[in-house]
């Protein structure tokens, strides 16, 4: 399966990348995507996650073609 992973703001800086294009098998959840892309780094506690631009929990399912994003609490407005 193909998963596009995107990182924003301070989380982008701390992982050192804006995105990953994963070709992988056996990733069931958003949490699995993080662990596959960042095996040596835990997802920071207050992080938010989105699949295809909607907010989700890390336990949410992912499927082929999804865009998964990880980012810190938002500070707009």
């Amino acid at each position: 399966m193909s998963i596009k992973v995107r990182y924003f703001a301070s989380l982008k800086e701390s992982v050192g990348r804006a995105e990953d294009n994963l070709e992988c098998a056996g990733l069931a959840t958003v949490g699995d995507v993080w662990r596959f892309a960042n095996p040596d780094k835990a997802l920071p506690d207050n992080s938010l996650a989105a699949v295809n631009m909607d907010y989700v929990d890390v336990s949410s399912a992912v499927k082929d073609g999804d865009e998964v994003a990880f980012f810190p609490p938002v500070t707009g407005g």
Binding site: F8, A9, N46, A50, M53, Y55, P72, V74, G76, G77
Partner: protein, 148 residues
């Protein structure tokens, strides 16, 4: 409903007037308008701030803002709404966000405008990084409850 993301400075008064004039269905029909404008200050948390960079998640930003405005329109009888948000490099005194809501009655205008602002603050994917006078940069960690 209109949602706009600008990478350049915008004039909130021009935005509101242009929207009001183009929405011909508004003429004579709205009795109340509530407007909120967030403007960059030259200080924050006790430090002098020279500027700010606003990062966003293109696509998700628009999707979430449309969702928020749609929720407001479902909860209150809103005739029309406009949301404008800056991204990129911002200087003190420049507007960051504009929310305008047109309704028949004032209670709905206040409620819907505030709902949109609070939801935007907690759900729209924007992130602010401040450049301090000391030349250090810092990410804002969390939006406040609006009273700090």
């Amino acid at each position: 409903m209109a949602i706009k993301i600008y990478a350049e400075p915008f004039d909130p008064w021009q935005e509101i007037q242009a929207h009001q004039h183009s929405a011909t269905e508004l003429a004579g029909k709205f009795g109340a308008t509530n407007i909120f404008i967030g403007t960059m200050r030259d200080f924050n948390e006790g430090d002098d701030v020279l500027g700010m960079t606003l990062e966003h998640y293109p696509g998700m930003t628009e999707k979430q803002l449309e969702k928020i405005v749609t929720e407001a329109m479902r909860q209150w009888p809103v005739i029309d709404a406009l949301v404008v948000h800056r991204v990129g490099d911002i200087l003190p005194n420049e507007p960051i966000v504009l929310v305008a809501v047109w309704t028949s009655h004032r209670g709905d205008a206040f409620d819907a405008s505030r709902y949109i602002m609070e939801a935007l603050k907690s759900r729209a994917p924007f992130w602010k990084k401040e450049l301090l006078k000391s030349q250090t940069e810092r990410w804002l960690v969390k939006n406040t409850d609006g009273y700090l």
